[in-house]
Amino acid sequence: MEPILDVHNLAVHYRGAPNPAVGGVSFQLGRERLGIVGESGSGKSTVGRALLKLLDTADVTADRMRFEDIDLLNASEKQMLSVRGKRISMILQDPKFSLNPTQRCGDQISEAYLTHFRSSRAEAKTRALEMLEQVHIRDPERVYNLYPHEVSGGMGQRIMIAMMLLTDPALVIADEPTSALDVTIRLQVLRILDGLVREKGIGLIMISHDLNLVRNFCDKVLIMYAGRVVETLAARDLDNAQHPYSRGLLAAQPRLGGARTPLPVLERQDSWLEPDGAHP
């Protein structure tokens, strides 16, 4: 399988910071779902932003950072404009902040389409309505004319998904796509995203702090600690994770019906910061 994305030895160094925020990150992504898991400050979101070259205040270096036939590392800003939103889309945590509050939701979706494809407004609207239907919105015509403050969080995130998938991207980066949502709609939104990603054969990078989410909705998992990948493994093998950090994260999560004993606490070790990230 030809990888969509091939990253080797990615490092991100924020200017003025003494240490790189991310270092030595390597992975390949085919038409599959990759989870990047870590705690706050582990650099997981920075990786997603580095791929889209959205980091103005940081130096991004890598041995290799290819997306399909584009060398992301040396791509000009003009080239990136045609990649961002069209070939690679990004879904952010809270739809409240990603949707423009002064425009109708539907118009924003059409606008996204018109930015990347030559077409008439009418056609863009038809495409937008189709897409809204695909994210299981029952009455697309009505939702099309709503303003962002008139829709709920779950609906807003579905609208964002519609907008992001409308341009038929090859890769979607979802940064904590459901952490702002309630648990009852979280699954629904995830299933819609998951269904569309599989159906259209899109590559997915799911950035999350939540191991459950990654376990159920990804094929491969990258576990990051302090800007480094400490372990890469298949999602179904998550329970057999070897690295003490991965195991610590899994154990620290309280579980429904779990024992009432004190939760195991993660003992951080300096050796995890070694560049090779090696561990038995």
Partner: protein, 248 residues
């Protein structure tokens, strides 16, 4: 140990009614959970009980005493609250010492240094941290400070408003363990709001599920797994949480 009882608590902001006749009985020494989606009014219950929001009707009693008839000092020394966001609940320009000392000064408590040192030890922080500022602490350390600030007045009742939802899993485990230990050691009563059923299951003996400002159902902890919930929404929420975890 003190019990708290909430009777017919109703809150309206203008024409919008946020809470409809909420009734809760929490026994002394119990840890009681309050679960619901955002906007269900679960945090509003805490804000009413702490009188941060004073425009409500109904009755809230602690050990049979109406909280409206308590003096401010008595109320402060009976109940304290821990907030969700450890970054917003500590004043950025105040050292940890002044954050803890405020309550002691206002309530004219003597022997402040000992009390503060004790509170810091209780939450597992070195006493030297008293002279630090919030920006010098990590999120978990800040939440410990927030708990120490609540404990320094030696209250009987702690209102916990999503105390760990802004923290990482590993830090959440530390703070939850701390809260469990403190309740055992000091015989505290907890009223804890959370959107995470797993956290409530870990901490609480009983919990209430709220929706649209009403109590949908009050359930014992066992009801999560044995499916004894009756209310349709309660069943939906529990089912969604179990499915989301799907790893039992």
């Amino acid at each position: 140990m003190k019990s708290i009882s909430i009777k017919q608590l109703s809150v309206s902001f203008g024409a919008v009614t946020v809470l409809h006749d909420v009734d809760l009985e929490i026994a002394a020494g119990e840890c009681f959970g309050l679960v619901g989606e955002s906007g269900s009014g679960k945090s509003t219950v805490l804000r009413c009980a702490s009188l941060l929001n004073a425009t409500w009707s109904g009755k809230i009693e602690i050990d049979g005493k109406d909280i409206r008839t308590m003096s401010i000092q008595e109320r402060c020394r009976t109940m304290q609250m821990v907030f969700q966001d450890p970054y917003g609940s500590l004043h950025p320009r105040h050292s940890i010492r002044s954050a803890l000392e405020l309550g002691l000064i206002v309530n004219k408590v003597d022997d402040r240094e000992t009390k503060m040192a004790q509170a810091m030890r209780d939450v597992g922080l070195p006493v030297e941290f008293l002279d630090r500022y919030p920006h010098q602490l990590s999120g978990g350390q800040r939440q410990r400070v927030a708990i120490a600030r609540a404990l320094v007045l030696e209250p009987h009742l702690l209102l916990l408003d999503e105390p760990t939802s802004a923290l990482d899993v590993s830090v959440q485990a530390e703070v939850l363990n701390l809260l469990v230990r403190l309740r055992e050691e000091k015989g505290l009563t907890y009223l804890m709001v959370s959107h995470d059923l797993a956290v409530v299951d870990h901490m609480c003996g009983r919990f209430a599920i709220m929706q649209h400002g009403r109590i949908a159902e009050v359930l014992p902890r066992e009801a999560i797994l044995d499916g004894s919930a009756r209310d349709p929404y309660a069943r939906e929420l529990i089912a969604a949480s179990i499915e989301y975890e799907r790893a039992i």
